[in-house]
Amino acid sequence: MGNLLMVRRTISINFILRKPDPMTFKAFILALALSFGVPWLLIIVVPYGKMRNLEAVHFEMDSDGRDEVYVPRRSGRITTGSAVYGANGCYVCHTQLIRASYAGSELGRPDWAGFRIKDENGVTINTARETTPYDYVGESFAHVGIMRVGPDLSNVAGRIQGYLDDPLTKADSPENWLYLHLYNSSFKTKTFNNVAGCPSQTHLFEERVVRGQGSPEAVPGINMDGVEVLPTGDARALVSYLLSLRKDDAVPYSINYSREKKKAE
């Protein structure tokens, strides 16, 4: 009897749950398609199509002092390097986005978004500017990044030039600074109490026994008994890519969002 009651209860629940549905199946699917399709068109399809063919930006005579098309300059093994950057998860800890000042404060950090340089008259100018759509030229996917555990890399190549002036650094070139950073980030300087910030990417290097005078390709500054460290092709592509990340390219006045931008006279 108990079991019977149980079953009857289940059926009556089924009955109560079944409300008369005012909507037909077609209307339901149509409403779903509308509520999804509108945002799908407005924030995915149309902007994607529009951004595919960005209009060229021009330097203009009255604001830039010259009249030509802006061609973003970037050199290095960008496509391969960008893929290595992605496959090794650099984007988990490093971002590549200088946000507009209403959305973030990167413009305020020295070296992140540009440089303080002296112009020909000895006047200090700040070239810091936010990211433009042209900064990712040559890549198929903008590695905007997930978490900013390490510093932003939008201008990393420019910063490294500055790090080489540090008397404690072991690196003699931007490439070698990056190789040291990737192999073991605590090897970059001559002090011994370095904290390893970035996990070491030893899989991007080949360690082998020194023969004769050793390979000229070996990364200098790594002292291991009779073993030298050579960057692999992946490491070379990655470093080449990282050295293409810089913000010293003059952009037209119309897309220069630097606070201290000036019109050409």
């Binding site: 779903l32 800890c93 404060s105 198929s140």
Partner: protein, 498 residues
């Protein structure tokens, strides 16, 4: 007397039908749940390793394939595609068959497609770990895998759609709206995102934008409806009373359908793309609180007055935890996406906390609730140990709360320090140390809890569960009646079929 025996026959037929549906789906459903739980354990091990590496960068650093930059994406992707999607498939397939009152006639096809899905997850995980990851968040599996997933998704779920169309016309349950919507949204979202990111040759910033949208679309338009569908099935079913308010359910559903698709692009706020897109995304994530409140109130009101059942039934207990997490998700989404806070949360640990809250705190808890309800029915055995269920529950609850609180709080401090541009960057980098340690400990707890779950589930699949008429309850005495109907009816059915 005559009508009495008629209704008795009807009841008996009804019970036999449900038993037949359960039997027809036993292997597909158990396959999805068990392999999902196994992938969950893998995802948690990877999560533990990656979290450990986030505060001790030398941990396993000599092993190339266990590098932080590979383990973290592998952890997230295995959690989503290995566990999340497969748990969702198991729930959709079973709930849709039961609610449409149709037996599954294609268990073989579903199982085959399920194996292909699992092979895809395995190949994808190995691909990421061996350095072939695509580098696009939540799409890191090598790009050959997504078409495979789409095809196997089709062969897993199309039968549920057909079952719904072939069921008696005119009447649907709230749970069915959500399941149908999930079935409808997933392929559209998944195909759109992968075409725009991997196939079409567009602007790199827009590809990143579509990728950011995909994360939130997957959360709000696939995991959320499946979790809510399961809860809308379990809450009335176990308590034996109708859903509290039908209009509120309708409102909650359409609120989600209208708000959900806009969310996600706030990851690119301040970036070089039309700025209405990120801020519309942020606004939509704030507004998710509306469906969260509607559903939360509706389900909790359905359970009101049944506190004893909530305490003793594993399914209800997990469901309540999941629905509570959905409410928290709505509140946190509101708090973290206002423009002034978004600055700090856009690139900090907070995003991870939000995603884990959605995938684990909300979706997985609801899915566990469903699994604790479904598995005894398809295996016709009862869960072996209430202690295992209890440990799974409490370790998961405390673990997830710790992960979420540590990630969100640590992320807020981290983000605030990032914004203080006059202080050295190192100050910001160090500030989250304690929180990442807390996260590591919590992943350890969750891993421990889910090992109990995995073991329990495998024992049930092997039909080593208790052969009893009394469901396994967490508190008090067992009830006298079996929730699955009397055992002898099934035996008769077996004989009749043999």
């Amino acid at each position: 007397m005559g009508s009495d025996s008629d209704s008795q026959t009807k009841l008996h037929d009804d019970m036999e039908l449900r038993a037949r549906i359960d039997r027809s789906l036993r292997h597909p459903v158990m396959f999805f749940f068990a392999s999902g739980a196994a992938w969950l354990a893998v995802a948690l091990v990877l999560g533990f390793i990656s979290s450990y590496q986030s505060h001790d960068t030398r941990f396993l650093s000599g092993v190339g394939f266990l590098n932080y930059g590979r383990v973290y994406p592998a952890h997230v992707n295995v959690l989503i595609y290995g566990w999340g999607c497969q748990a969702a498939f198991g729930l959709i397939v079973w709930l849709m068959a039961r609610l449409s009152r149709k037996e599954c006639t294609c268990a073989g096809v579903i199982l085959t497609a399920g194996h292909i899905w699992n092979l895809g997850v395995l190949a994808g995980m190995l691909g990421i770990l061996s350095g072939y990851g695509s580098g696009k968040p939540w799409m890191e599996f090598p790009s050959a895998i997504w078409p495979l997933f789409l095809v196997s998704y089709f062969f897993i779920t199309v039968w549920s759609f057909i079952q719904f169309r072939c069921s008696e016309p005119g009447k649907t349950y709230v749970a069915q709206w959500y399941l149908l919507a999930a079935l409808f949204w997933f392929p559209w979202v998944y195909l759109t995102a992968h075409l725009f990111v991997f196939v079409f040759n567009g602007h790199p910033v827009m590809a990143a934008g579509v990728n950011a949208w995909f994360k939130y679309a997957l959360i709000f338009l696939f995991f959320t409806p499946v979790a809510l569908g399961t809860s809308y099935y379990l809450a009335p079913k176990v308590t034996g009373r109708p859903v509290y308010s039908y209009p509120l359910a309708l409102f909650g559903f359409w609120a989600l359908a209208i708000i959900g698709p806009w969310a996600g692009m706030q990851k690119l706020a301040g970036g070089p793309l039309p700025q209405f897109m990120p801020y519309v995304g942020a606004a939509a994530t704030v507004l998710i609180l509306i469906p969260a409140l509607a559903v939360g109130v509706n389900i909790l009101m359905t359970l009101r007055g049944h506190e004893a059942e909530v305490g003793s039934s594993p399914s209800l207990r997990f469901t309540v935890a999941g629905i509570a997490s959905f409410l928290v998700l709505g509140l946190v989404g509101m708090g973290l996406n206002t423009p002034s806070i978004l600055k700090m949360t856009q690139f900090s640990l907070t995003g991870y906390g939000f995603e884990i809250l959605a995938i684990y705190g909300f979706f997985s808890m609801c899915a566990f609730g469903g699994i604790y309800f479904i598995v005894p029915r398809v295996t016709r055995r009862e869960w072996l140990s209430r202690r295992f269920i209890g440990w799974h529950f409490w370790l998961t609850i405390y673990g997830i709360a710790t992960v979420v609180v540590c990630s969100i709080m640590g992320g807020l401090f981290h983000g605030a320090a990032q914004e203080a541009y006059n202080s050295a960057w190192q100050d910001a980098a160090k500030i989250s140390y304690a929180y990442t340690v807390g996260t590591t400990v919590a992943w350890g707890l969750i891993l421990f809890g889910s090992l109990f779950f995995l073991l329990h589930l495998l024992l049930m699949w092997a039909r080593l569960g208790r052969r009893s008429q009394h469901p396994t309850l967490l508190q008090g005495e067992h009830h006298g009646e079996s929730p699955h109907g009397p055992e002898d009816d099934l035996d008769k059915l077996h004989t009749a079929e043999a």
